[in-house]
Symmetry: D3
Subunit: 288 residues, 6 copies
Amino acid sequence: MLVVDKLSEYDSFKSVYHENRDGEPFPSGLALRQIVDLCRSILFPGYFGNPMVDRRTIKYHIGVNVERLQALLEEQVLAGLCFGCTDEERSLADKKAESKQVVSVFVEFLPELRRVLMTDIEAAYYGDPAAKSFAEIILCYPAVRAISNHRIAHKLLEQGVPMIPRMISEMAHSETGIDIHPGATIGERFSIDHGTGVVIGETAIIGDNVKIYQGVTLGAKSFELDEFGNPVKDVPRHPILEDDVIVYANATILGRVTIGKGAVIGGNIWVTSDVEPGAKVVQSKVNR
Amino acid sequence: MLVVDKLSEYDSFKSVYHENRDGEPFPSGLALRQIVDLCRSILFPGYFGNPMVDRRTIKYHIGVNVERLQALLEEQVLAGLCFGCTDEERSLADKKAESKQVVSVFVEFLPELRRVLMTDIEAAYYGDPAAKSFAEIILCYPAVRAISNHRIAHKLLEQGVPMIPRMISEMAHSETGIDIHPGATIGERFSIDHGTGVVIGETAIIGDNVKIYQGVTLGAKSFELDEFGNPVKDVPRHPILEDDVIVYANATILGRVTIGKGAVIGGNIWVTSDVEPGAKVVQSKVNR
Amino acid sequence: MLVVDKLSEYDSFKSVYHENRDGEPFPSGLALRQIVDLCRSILFPGYFGNPMVDRRTIKYHIGVNVERLQALLEEQVLAGLCFGCTDEERSLADKKAESKQVVSVFVEFLPELRRVLMTDIEAAYYGDPAAKSFAEIILCYPAVRAISNHRIAHKLLEQGVPMIPRMISEMAHSETGIDIHPGATIGERFSIDHGTGVVIGETAIIGDNVKIYQGVTLGAKSFELDEFGNPVKDVPRHPILEDDVIVYANATILGRVTIGKGAVIGGNIWVTSDVEPGAKVVQSKVNR
Amino acid sequence: MLVVDKLSEYDSFKSVYHENRDGEPFPSGLALRQIVDLCRSILFPGYFGNPMVDRRTIKYHIGVNVERLQALLEEQVLAGLCFGCTDEERSLADKKAESKQVVSVFVEFLPELRRVLMTDIEAAYYGDPAAKSFAEIILCYPAVRAISNHRIAHKLLEQGVPMIPRMISEMAHSETGIDIHPGATIGERFSIDHGTGVVIGETAIIGDNVKIYQGVTLGAKSFELDEFGNPVKDVPRHPILEDDVIVYANATILGRVTIGKGAVIGGNIWVTSDVEPGAKVVQSKVNR
Amino acid sequence: MLVVDKLSEYDSFKSVYHENRDGEPFPSGLALRQIVDLCRSILFPGYFGNPMVDRRTIKYHIGVNVERLQALLEEQVLAGLCFGCTDEERSLADKKAESKQVVSVFVEFLPELRRVLMTDIEAAYYGDPAAKSFAEIILCYPAVRAISNHRIAHKLLEQGVPMIPRMISEMAHSETGIDIHPGATIGERFSIDHGTGVVIGETAIIGDNVKIYQGVTLGAKSFELDEFGNPVKDVPRHPILEDDVIVYANATILGRVTIGKGAVIGGNIWVTSDVEPGAKVVQSKVNR
Amino acid sequence: MLVVDKLSEYDSFKSVYHENRDGEPFPSGLALRQIVDLCRSILFPGYFGNPMVDRRTIKYHIGVNVERLQALLEEQVLAGLCFGCTDEERSLADKKAESKQVVSVFVEFLPELRRVLMTDIEAAYYGDPAAKSFAEIILCYPAVRAISNHRIAHKLLEQGVPMIPRMISEMAHSETGIDIHPGATIGERFSIDHGTGVVIGETAIIGDNVKIYQGVTLGAKSFELDEFGNPVKDVPRHPILEDDVIVYANATILGRVTIGKGAVIGGNIWVTSDVEPGAKVVQSKVNR
């Protein structure tokens, strides 16, 4: 078939082609989903994973799950490291050693991750009259999934893993409509209500006890271009939300502005400058 | 491994742990998906489930699907009843009897459910110039899925089933971006266009022939705290939309306000007080 | 069971029933997912499908995938053609011949599709400081999935295939929260950032190098009814965005208005009239 | 790769190649397994298929299963008819009509098939002191599976279906080690104990109430060659076992011999001539 | 369809129908396969189940597998107990208690089961020049699978579990062609070479260090009928093989005979009387 | 649980434990099944694998299948090499290089393998009056599967691969009841009729145009023990069958005897000494 020949010409595909080197693993959405599910089984026993777990047997379950998590995550971190290397500047053995080290740090972090997620769940419970129990929040609330994935992805990004953190965040984005860049820094007791349409940018910094509603954007206003016209990467360009801030539905906060401690941002508005601590910002009146 | 020991200490996991009692079923996302799919096969024969069904054999198909629906739903309702019981105040046999009763009422409701969903489909067809046929709406429109799941979940919640209705709603939320709390009361001929970002709160009441667009929130403005600082549950706090109301994209209506019969709420605005029947509310001018 | 009898009465189900004719295929979500995945494997070798593909073997892989794509797509196009025919005005053989013809045109279009998608990916890369590599965009960005599905669906709709294009678009809508009607006409170098809540209507026309953000609606303001009170179909009623337009988050543009070349539409606003080329439209000040 | 070129040369593969014509189904082991499982669900309700079936709902289950059986079997019979046609002497439509006719006869035969299989099960129960219940025989005895498959395959062969009957028999052969050619004619109350290694040839005729043990061969002694040196097909060349015959383990009976009513053939012997009714044939003494 | 009516008449199906009582589990081939696989994972770590298991983590793996084994086996033992009860003479709670007790005894038996199976593996290794390693025997030898299943099934039968032991034996029979009735009593260091066609009857007793080859039958010669013409169950009717006996390929030993310690039975012969300890029995000369 | 502790003690499991080294693959039954299926797709296009393959596209299919076969087989050969090494005498890199070399030789052998298997199929067709077509033999005859697996396994064993060849042979043994040790040397035009119970030992040598029937054993009579009482491995101890030999059902030929060219061995007999070319050996008369 002629079209097969055309599609197989190097000039036709070279710019959209990834050449996987022999023996290197490939980032796998399926494996990442298993990794996140294993984290949830380990962190919330009895809610996720085997429901039979009891106090007598919990250690067996956690032991098996931690071991399996390590194996899967080492492979995926390695895939990320290989994928990120455009030339062969480092040996595979070297990258394998790094991925073992990254995963070892990640696994040590699990007890702290559980503690912090528990504060997020409490914040959701005490902040939502519709929430009937902690159980309902753990099992049903999309924000718990989005924040869990974020805290996992952020920890991996902190250690320099390419690609994989973003894939973990996008999994949550697809399921929940909540798009948190793995680079964002988020404090404890963080809650998102409903959540669809929330966007939190790469350099955003969020304090403790912050609550945001569906459709809120913490975005960038504009960005610099370098001498070649490319956007300059890694410049702080997203908002800082100090402790105890609330942002209501569909508000859009853009640029490296600071929303001061305890401020309240009303719904459907567009904020591009700093807001004082304790201030309340709302939309202008509507016409009838 | 030390971290396994840490993660297995009772103090570490007790607050995020669900102890499943022996012989009790567990809420299952997979089973709930099958339950919703069975409902769709029963309600819309030839569109969902076995496409071979014809007038000669339809009774066999519906008979088998209803029986399977009963079995699966009885187990999940029981799981919800058990999950909701924090102590063993009721016997398993008692909860089994209740779940049989709940499901029996639900199954009797199926013909009425089909009739009401048909009014929703008609409303979508007559309200959308892009809709080419009823078939397209049934097979493709996310709002049909969201409203179907809602009407199923609402019927179960009415009968006091914990947890399960919320899980059914969240399934639709994840797939469609439409978040309808199972407690919301919704009339006939209800349509949602596009739908991503729609939020309809627990105590919202929606009349007949209402249409809303993507990004619309029917939310709560604030909520009372009890003497312990916990939110008071079950207080009416979401809007009432009377018959024939239209709410355009990204509008946010908050609090126990009433939007009168036939009123039109424009897009991207924030409404926190009552709107007269027949009124039109729009955003203030924009600056250029 | 009495309820089975009720649900099986012709009067009860006739309006929500699809009678599949013997030997005709049925639209299948699973098959459409495989079709989209095959397109992605063919277009982006090494990223999707078999990661082992190398320059020596790429032709084998593309050859097998193109053949399988043809077979699956011919069946689904036929299913669409059969579904769209309410009476038996055309023979099955005739519809089979048409579906072969449609798919043949589609397959010839694949090299051009790859070229255009590459311009979209470049636009995303150069327009987003958070993007670390083309690879990250291809593997992770939801907009790439939404735009790919749109360009596939649009090509099939152009050739008159019923139902199937809409199903392909809705698959992307469900996964990404981006709802692009397959009828929309979209130029090269198109990018959507974050994307949840974006709605692009059936008759929208978008030029080259346009960028839109999450929550943007390009919708219809109102629509005509015919003498029977039904909406008149196929009337141009969605916006035209000329080249180089940017629309920020949660803006809503309604009706057959023209947003002139290079114009910038700010976030959270509602636009219902033409905007001059090069103009900037922003929200009125907010109250503090 | 050179070896790929070699393996793709027409001269290399033409003698081991099956060219499937467009639109023709292919014999499918998976479909045949489903067909046999559906037969078992229909014939032995509550043992196979849905265990929930009760007297109130059995008709729904059988109705759905019969419909599905018809659809699957029509496709496989058609596949057999197409496979058997080396040139295109008959139209596909003609073969489709024949496959519908064949399946219609087969479905009408199901009640009789159930009755006869019940006699086989009774024979197994009354002939085996180790059998604890009819249930154990139905669920566990390999002979029941082998004989069921045989009676299904034989009915299809009777109606001239190529290939498919043999595939059904081989499925049982693989699972049970019992190899009954679908051409063999077998009476009621037939039982095989243990069964591994049993071979019953194409033209064998077995009366009622016959019992054979593991390792028994009812084979051909030799066969004629035609003028081209090919074996002459369809010549009666396997034994006739009259009613009430018993053949013990590992006996080999070869050629068109008749084993008279009530005869008993001892184990581990080789019989190549007729045996009188009522006779007992045993191995000569062994040396110690 | 008329045939559906016929097949659904109670008179037509009553004798081949199993009526499952509400809430009772059903014997499941799939669950039994998982049970056997779990036993193998527990008994032979690193060979079956998770290959990652190491000395540091083995306890976690065994803990999880034992717990899962208990849960699955309790359900299947209960299914067997329910299946075996033709009337409701015992309460479900009573049968549940019994199944817990049976499984508890079974789990305590696992260390002994591992020890005995190890003697069987050693016997295979030292008795077969083709065996290259213990690993090859554990992973590849069908006899190991057949004997493992037997020792599991026999333990369950000893405790009075109906149906389930026979299903476990038949699974091995189907895979290996080795048919050992779960009632047979078998000593240590038992080996079967090749194995296809081996039959070992319900009341056979086999000492230590016995070896048999493919096609060997240890069967019954005839059986008593009771006053109603039914076979008398549970009468000893199969051979006793004392320690150190060897039986070569395709030999058939029938009836309650004793093959004395160290005796050797040659291939292809039929033995129906006792054999002295140390004797060698071979086939008479053949004619040329 | 106490039993978990017992089962996890090193002394309890050390002799039945396989310690997999980090980064080494494990022999996988699933992968071997895929490997055999890929071989069959490559060798018999249109019969196995994708039935759509036609002369225009066959090269793509074979190209993709060969590449996948290489990848899977390299991993399994490596697994075999690792499994066979009890201490770490060779580096993983070294074993990887060997496995690449082994697979490269194997892939080059595929055209010859196809040619030889074709002679086996012809022999089956011309030797069986019940065979209706080559297609029936390729699709249904268990002997084709057993001989295919043998020829694959033998080629791998020739190159010194441990474990894997035996697993491939056992797969066929389990499905067909035909047990051919991968070490056996077998000429062209080899056929096995029915086949259940056939055993062909490790050092057997079979000429061209040999035919054997079900239940035939080509086994060892006895074997030497070394000074430690272990069987001496790799000693020739199985029969040699010269060209054109026929062996009828259930015959047992034991020891390093030679069955001369054209000899015929009758059924159910035990042969332990040489047979002259052209001789016919049959069972002695039976008593009546």
